[in-house]
Symmetry: C2
Subunit: 302 residues, 2 copies
């Protein structure tokens, strides 16, 4: 419950909450897994199946669902509530939606601090689920150690994923809805595409797993593959390197958010309001007003 | 040529160039016209026809083409060069592409400063052309006094425009490629859609103009309608209000860009680099590092 409250504050852009989250250490033993793919690929159902598999071996799992393009979490929250019902009373599962409320750095700050907080609370596997697939989603799954891209039978979808640059970020590829026509062909096509891709740093070759999230078929294999990617990351040193890079990105994003937050407050204060009025009535140009508000050393005045 | 150099510097994110542009007064006698719509709607050809019509009555015209989603202006530049050839030696036409280079506030700073600079150089009509249609494009055309949304026959396109929220921002709607099947129906459907829209502030009813950019059919009517929207804005006081609001937005965007620019320089300096290293090797959390870099008053240190 304390975690839920912290995340609500983080989403609202509460500086102290964000600071608390960013002051938490990264849980080095855990794994953060990003799950992305086109809407309708069955990501939510697949994540449910993964959660069930992990719970069967008593692992604590956190799920963070995020829609970077939407400032509303209404739709996602409804989905949460439905899924929550299945896990009611299970303290080993934590599920939460994050919306892009656009405060204190928006998701670029809220997501990493939420991931930190969930991990630090003992949820050793944190799944990040994105609603859509696009540049904003790619940014979100950069928070993950391992990125799973979910597609469905039919090359159109896979080609679209290729276009959106999603295949490049995949550490594991899933062809979900494997009972549908063309599943074998899609998996083969994806393997062909991957064969032409340059060998990635560290030598990990992206596996293609076929699943049926509705029946659980292939889900254990998926979990094994995701785990083996973590071992690979650890052995190659990529895990530590990736996490260090993410901590640095968090530091920079948070510093930016703080500076902007301070500027916004300065714009809302007396000097800022007077300058805004002067710009509106044309007695000051935007540049002159910025000069007076922000000193040469970047310190907001007034 | 001086204008072209200034815009190159603005696009690069050169603080002094942006400052120069923002220190220019808004040309009160001119009109900034945003042109948006799906790719393939014929926006470029239509803008060419509009430029020709305006040149026939000796008006000086600036065209700023912008692709908010792309950091590369290569493609747009090629199109520019082709179009430029038609206007070679005509000092009454200025054409320029702006790409989203992501420096000093990106397009949120580069666009308005470019619009200011072009207007201040005596190009009384400034046309802003967006490549696609989406949220980023909507932001770009907010720089305009008048927004023209271009569609083509076939309801699909119009409905898509409605979905993307583009119809809401239209002051003038164009059905281009009017020789195509279904043009009359599309114009009628759009007029029907508009009939159900709430009466806008100021009482302007959005006109629907059918054009053939390739032959110039309907283009004079389009120019007249665009001009009458300007008269309407002036008479209702909306022109002054809109420009005041944009100047304020420019002031805020530029102040933000300056503060962030200063922070980036501070991150690249000794203290910032040392803090970044400490975060990377885990001896400092992101929050603690931000604390040391950014004092409580928002002033970057070191």
């Amino acid at each position: 419950m304390a975690l839920a409250r912290l995340l609500t504050a983080v989403e609202r852009g509460d500086g102290q909450a964000v600071e608390s989250a960013f002051a938490l250490p990264v849980d080095q033993s855990g794994q953060v897994v990003g799950v992305t793919g086109s809407p309708g690929a069955g990501k939510s159902t697949l994540i449910d199946a993964v959660v069930a598999t992990l719970r069967a071996v008593d692992e604590r799992v956190g799920v963070l669902a995020v829609d970077p393009s939407s400032p509303y979490s209404g739709g996602a929250l409804l989905g949460d509530r439905i899924r929550m019902m299945r896990h009611v009373g299970d303290h080993g599962v934590f599920i939460r939606s994050l919306a892009n409320r656009g405060h204190l750095g928006g998701l670029s700050v809220a997501m990493p601090s939420a991931v930190r907080a969930v991990g630090a609370c003992g949820f050793t596997t944190v799944l990040i689920e994105t609603v859509g697939v696009g540049q904003a989603e790619v940014e979100v799954v950069r928070q993950a150690d391992t990125t799973v891209v979910v597609t469905t039978p039919g090359m159109g979808d896979a080609v679209q994923s290729g276009k959106a640059g999603v295949l490049e970020i995949a550490n594991v590829l899933v062809v979900n809805k494997a009972d549908r026509e063309g599943a074998t062909e899609t998996a083969r096509d994806l393997r062909d595409m991957l064969r032409w891709a340059p060998t990635p740093a560290g030598g990990w070759r992206v596996p293609v797993v076929t699943t049926r999230a509705d029946t659980g078929e292939g889900v254990e294999e998926l979990v094994e593959v995701v785990r083996s990617h973590r071992s690979h990351l650890e052995d190659s040193g990529e895990l530590a390197r990736g996490r260090a890079a993410r901590s640095v990105a968090e530091f920079h994003a948070y510093a930016r958010a703080r500076v902007l937050d301070r500027l916004d407050r300065s714009l809302a204060a007396d000097t800022g309001r007077a300058l805004t009025e002067a710009v509106a009535d044309g007695t000051l140009t935007p540049a002159a007003a910025a000069d007076r508000l922000v000193a040469g050393d970047g310190r907001p005045q007034g």
